[in-house]
């Protein structure tokens, strides 16, 4: 179900799909169109002033109407500049506002999507959907729209004026417009392809830089600096070649356009030169239009190719909004318990913390393999379960099901004896504490991060929580104590410090069910002892599931599940599993050696 909807043939470049985001700006956009029309009329009119000046003042050798001429001219200029002001301001405001709404819609939707979406799409990919795709759409709705009106109406009005003044000459000039348009469209396709290739090479170069820097140690030990250089310069040479090729294309494109205006000018000279005899003003006006017509034509062709590229952005964006979460609360549940944004907490039953897997069969939505088959297990309140296995073996599966990040393909997960699907996700999540292996803090102060666990925690509760996990020493060392900024992703703190803060955060949430994804990152021994002590304290009086990497820490768990290649291969207490001399035994032996050595060498 998370599969994105098949790309449908969309009309109007997919714009119909985003109409609802433009609706609030309908009136402003109408005014923009009106103003675009006005400015184009004034722009068409400006050469008429010159025409008047030449025909009347200069040929007539009189200055009789000069004051009036000046007044009208200034009024036209003022009107034009006022229209420019209002329309530019409105266009930009619409652009950024539409962008804002699109980002908001994307972000809000992401908060409701299930984990399979996040597992199938990289952070970078989703990030680009929220920030880059949306920005292209906004500028389409504002600038392209307004400029489109301007350029189209300029073309039409200029044609009308020319036809009105001298139909024969006008037709001669106008005939080249469709010819030029056809020529331009030929170039466009090639240009788009060339630009795409250049972008690709450019990102290759950046990742080459990245490798050269992050892999510096390896490059040195292998003494392959020259090989790296060779690869790099080959890529930069390709970049140069392609860019120059593209500039030839662009140059030819620009040349065609300039030549086209000159052809128009030449036509005016050739067939309209006689006008200069008595109507030098009309002659000069025709020259202005002849040269000015090509720009709108070029713009319109450009706009069409822009639309084609923006269509991709629109599709990606609407596809994101179309993705359905595969974990959804039923309407009845939402009715009773509320949704993630408007919970009805008064209706929530208290959560005890009994978990039961009842004949659960599970396959990841994007996977082929069934990882759990008719799995049954009861985790009574207060018990402690450990899941062990190699990195990437699939240790998170059970946790994902308990947290209802995924739902079983068959069977049920019972929370306090009732199917988890009978209550809202937020109800369950509000009673779960989660401590990640790579602790994730948000930018902001330490306090803000702690309150993430429980926004209503009192000062006293915060103090107790940080003391319980010995994070008080960390806080004491910080310059502004709890109000110290932790930096983006908490990067101003060390891994160990982040770990302790995230423990305190979990405690403040006072969860009934605690999930611990144990740290693999190396922390110094002292911190590790502190963390271990914190874990022991935290799991008291809660149902806990530990995803463990250090086997020595799980020896006393009520049940250990060993996972290999995604499946549970063994389960039992530490004693039972050691006696079985199976997979757990092997893993344990290997780690034991390492740990013993580390302990002695300490």
């Amino acid at each position: 179900m998370t599969q994105t909807a098949p790309v449908q043939k969309t009309r109007f470049f997919g714009i119909s799909k985003i109409l609802r985001f433009l609706k609030p700006f309908k009136r402003v956009m109408l005014s923009m169109a009106a103003l675009g029309l006005t400015t184009s009329i004034i722009d068409v009119a400006i050469p008429l002033f010159q025409r008047y000046s030449l025909n009347h003042f200069i040929k007539g050798n009189t200055l009789d109407t000069l004051p009036l001429f000046l007044i009208i001219y200034i009024l036209a200029l003022a009107g034009q500049s006022f229209a420019t002001y209002v329309s530019c301001r409105n266009a930009m405001t619409v652009e950024v506002s539409v962008n804002r709404d699109l980002r908001h819609a994307a972000f809000e939707h992401l908060q409701t999507l299930s984990f399979s979406y996040f597992n199938q799409n990289s952070v970078g990919y989703i990030h680009a959907r929220v920030l880059s795709d949306t920005s292209r759409i906004g500028s389409l709705a504002s600038w392209s729209f307004m400029d489109g009106v301007w350029h189209t109406s300029y073309l039409i009005f200029a044609a009308v004026v020319m036809l009105a003044i001298n139909a024969r000459l006008a037709l001669l000039v106008l005939i080249i417009v469709p010819l030029v348009a056809a020529l331009f469209s030929l170039f466009q396709g090639k240009l788009i392809r060339a630009n795409r290739e250049i972008r690709e090479i450019n990102s290759n170069i950046t990742s080459n830089f990245n490798e050269g820097i992050t892999g510096a140690k390896t490059v040195k030990t292998l003494a392959i600096e020259e090989e790296m250089d060779r690869r790099f310069t080959a890529e930069t040479a390709r970049m140069r070649k392609r860019s120059v090729d593209a500039s030839r294309l662009r140059g030819a494109f620009a040349a065609t356009m300039n030549l086209a205006s000159s052809v128009a000018l030449a036509i005016v000279l050739w067939r309209g030169g006689y006008l200069a005899e008595n109507q030098v003003g009309t002659f000069s006006m025709f020259m202005s239009y002849a040269q000015g017509m090509m720009e709108p034509v070029r713009w319109l062709i450009d706009a069409i190719s822009d639309l084609i590229t923006t269509q991709v952005n629109i599709e990606r964006f609407t596809n994101l909004l179309a993705v359905k979460s595969d974990v959804v609360d039923t309407p009845e549940v939402v009715e009773k318990y509320g949704d993630s944004f408007c919970p009805k907490k008064e209706a929530w039953e208290p959560l005890v913390g009994d978990i039961e897997f009842e004949d659960v069969t599970f396959r990841y939505p994007d996977g082929q393999e069934t990882v759990l088959e008719h799995f049954n297990m009861r985790i009574p309140f207060g018990s402690n379960i450990a899941i062990v296995g190699e990195t990437g073996a699939g240790k998170s599966t059970l946790v994902n099901l308990v947290c209802r990040f995924y739902e079983p393909t068959q069977g049920r997960v019972l929370i306090d004896g009732r199917d988890a699907r009978e209550r809202s996700q937020l109800w369950l999540h509000s009673s779960i504490g989660y401590v990640l292996q790579n602790p994730h803090l948000f930018s902001g102060t330490v306090r803000e991060n702690l309150l993430y666990g429980n926004p209503n925690a009192s000062e006293e509760q915060i103090r107790r929580a940080i003391e319980l996990v010995s994070a008080d020493e960390v806080v004491a060392r910080l310059e502004n104590g709890l109000d110290t900024d932790v930096g983006e992703g908490g990067d101003l703190l060390s891994t160990g410090e982040k770990q302790l803060i995230s423990f305190a955060r979990a405690i403040l949430a006072d969860p009934r069910i605690l999930i611990l994804d144990e740290a693999t990152a190396s922390v110094d021994t002292l911190t590790e002892q502190k963390i271990q002590a914190a874990i022991d304290k935290v799991i008291q009086g809660r149902t806990s599931i530990v995803i463990a990497h250090r086997l020595s820490t799980v020896r006393h768990s009520d049940c250990i599940l060993a996972v290999k290649d995604g499946k549970i291969v063994e389960s039992g207490t530490h004693k039972q599993l050691i006696a079985a001399k199976g997979y757990y035994y092997d893993m344990y032996t290997r780690q034991y050696e390492d740990e013993e050595a580390a302990k002695i060498l300490g």
């Binding site: 010159q50 984990f115 999540h429 930018s443």
Partner: protein, 604 residues
């Protein structure tokens, strides 16, 4: 004083970068000049048409042009054959279009050559900067210097510098032509120009701070989305979707309001400068008309004059923006210069090539990383030629540092003991030669995002797939690779498969084996493979590479027990030194670990 030499250095840097592209830029500027000249000719043709061909004013054209017109048949003939004037316009247009094309292509050639030179030079330099430099500098920051700062510098040269040349040429030429027609009117036309330019300049300067603020807040918004996505588990597990949405909303709205402010400033500027430009044209149109009537300026002059005037306005408005953007380049030059001024690794003069098959000897080696406590204290030992040396040590005992020093990733300062190979102090040795002859597998191996076979064969250009597979077989990797759908052509990393820790280690071992070096170092490189595979790999090593000097670092006794000699490193000092049989009963650290590791069965 220091500032002066610094800025001189930076200027030299830019000139060095420009070496291969100067000529291209010169051609492009010449082309621009030619195109500007062609631009000047069209109004002259039209003026002549209006005044002399159609009209009957006294012609004041240069003598050669007059002769040409006489040759064709005089103005009278032209009047009945207007197509000739039209063709003249087209001919000029062809010159203009051709020179514009040449400008564009040569300008791109110049700027792309410049970018290539900068990128290549930086990459070359970065690869050769000492490892300590890499440890000090953040990857993201260096990459930014190599990408966006290079782009800024490119724009500075290829857009702003050439742009200013173009504008200057355009200005000078139009003013010359205008002066030749009517000096007084020219003066009137020029007077508002500096005003328009100054207005544009001061506006772009102020709006830049607004733009910077927008950028900064875009960064914040982007970071917020990034955090939300990477922390999606935390958000969900704590049920904090609403908080996240609120936070995002606040920033999203604030960021948008900043842009709305920019929108107001920009539209104020655009509309007012439009008005100014339009007003300037109005003045020329009106005063020109007055001059025509009162001073007998011809209609042709009037039309041509208005054309020239039109050519002035845009460049002047652009100039302000360009000048304000130029100041960005200074910062970028600084940031690139930072990389270029860092000292690369270098050998002493006349480096020697030591006998790599000789003994490796550490004598009284003491070492500390910059601003860190001592990590090695008076370490002495010998890895005998052709033998296997085992090193046992805990985290932070300095065992990896020993190997970094041996491979000259860090230089051992004078007076801190010596490391020698085959009797040669490695300080005197050719670093490249040394590294080529030491095969080293690091604790956390780094693989490049290429195919598996490219990764294994990376050190030699002409390696056959069979050689690669043989190395992979020795490293117990072949079977695994053959299971991949694309076998050895499987891409590693970002856009390819993610290898497990053990698979990565084995790939790195295979990579080292293809080097066939006389010295091989395995720095804890078997930690993620199981005991059985560990033993298999070691057997393969012994069988195929019997003659090499091998150093194995581990804290697994089974891995070390077959070594010819074992040293135990404890807190930067040698605690024990002997064979497995000697050490296991010596009652020291080694025997304690031996006992604890072999006593596992009883303990549980």
């Amino acid at each position: 004083m220091k500032d002066k030499t610094q800025s001189k250095e930076k200027r030299r840097l830019v000139f060095d970068f420009l070496k291969g592209s100067k000529l291209f830029f010169a051609v492009s500027i010449l082309s621009a000049a030619l195109s500007a000249l062609a631009d000047m000719l069209t109004p002259q043709i039209i003026r002549t048409t209006i005044d002399n061909v159609i009209g009957s004013e006294e012609a004041s054209l240069p003598a050669p042009v007059m002769r040409l017109i006489e040759k064709i048949g005089g103005f009278g003939y032209l009047k009945t054959h207007m197509i000739i004037m039209a063709l003249a316009v087209l001919a000029v247009a062809l010159i203009k279009v051709a020179s514009q094309y040449s400008f564009r292509v040569y300008n791109t050639k110049g700027s792309e050559t410049l970018v290539k030179t900068m990128r290549d030079t930086l990459f070359h330099r970065i690869e050769r900067l000492p490892f300590s430099w890499h440890m000090k500098n953040k990857t993201g920051d260096i990459i930014q210097r190599c990408t966006s700062d290079i782009d800024t510098l490119r724009n500075f040269v290829s857009e702003q510098m050439t742009g200013i040349f173009r504008i200057a040429i355009m200005l000078v030429l139009s003013i010359i032509f205008m002066l030749s027609m009517d000096p007084l009117l020219t003066l009137i036309a020029i007077i508002p120009m500096p005003l328009i330019m100054l207005y544009s300049l001061s506006f772009h300067k102020t709006v830049r701070t607004q733009f910077e603020k927008c950028d900064e807040n875009e960064g914040k918004l982007s970071a917020m989305v990034q955090e939300n996505l990477t922390g999606v588990r935390v958000v969900r597990a704590f049920g904090r979707e609403k908080t996240e949405l609120d936070r995002f909303n606040t920033q999203n709205t604030y960021y948008t309001s900043l842009w709305v402010r920019v929108a107001h400033s920009l539209s104020r500027f655009w509309s007012s400068s439009d008005f100014l430009a339009g007003f300037q044209i109005l003045i020329v149109v009106a005063v020109g008309a007055v001059f025509c009537v009162k001073r007998g300026t011809t209609a042709g002059d009037y039309v041509a004059f208005i054309s020239y005037n039109g050519m002035l306005i845009w460049p002047v408005r652009m100039l302000g923006r360009m000048i304000s953007e130029m100041s960005k380049a200074g910062v970028s030059i600084d940031r690139i210069h930072y990389i270029m001024k860092s000292e690369p690794e270098h050998d002493l003069p006349d480096p020697v090539k030591p006998d790599m098959t000789g003994d490796i000897r550490f004598e009284h080696v003491t070492f500390a990383y910059e601003n860190c406590p001592e990590i090695l204290t008076d370490v002495s030992f010998t890895a005998e030629s052709g033998k296997t040396l085992g090193i046992l040590g805990g985290t932070g005992s300095g065992k990896s540092t020993l190997m970094f020093l041996l491979d000259k990733l860090y230089d051992l300062p004078e007076g801190n003991g010596t490391i020698s190979i085959g009797g040669t102090d490695i300080r005197l040795a050719d670093t490249r030669y040394l590294r080529e002859n030491i095969g080293m597998v690091l604790q956390e191996p780094y693989l490049f995002s290429r195919t598996i076979s490219e990764n294994i064969g990376i050190t030699s250009e002409h390696i056959t797939l069979e050689d690669i597979r043989e190395a992979a077989r020795d490293a117990c990797l072949d079977d695994t690779v053959m299971q991949f759908a694309q076998g050895y052509e499987t891409k590693v990393g970002e856009r390819g498969v993610t290898l497990s820790g053990g698979q990565k280690q084995r790939t790195a071992i295979a990579r080292m084996l293809t080097q066939k070096t006389p010295v091989m170092i395995l720095d804890d490189s078997l930690s993620a493979v199981d005991t059985e595979t560990d033993a298999k790999i070691r057997r393969a090593l012994e069988k195929h590479f019997g003659g090499a000097t091998v150093i194995i670092i581990s804290h697994r006794i089974t891995t070390l027990s077959h070594c010819d000699r074992i040293i135990v490193l404890d807190k930067g000092r040698i605690a024990e030194n002997g064979t497995h049989d000697e050490l296991k009963c010596a009652g020291g650290l080694y025997s304690r670990i031996y006992e604890s590791q072999s006593g596992l069965g009883e303990e549980v």
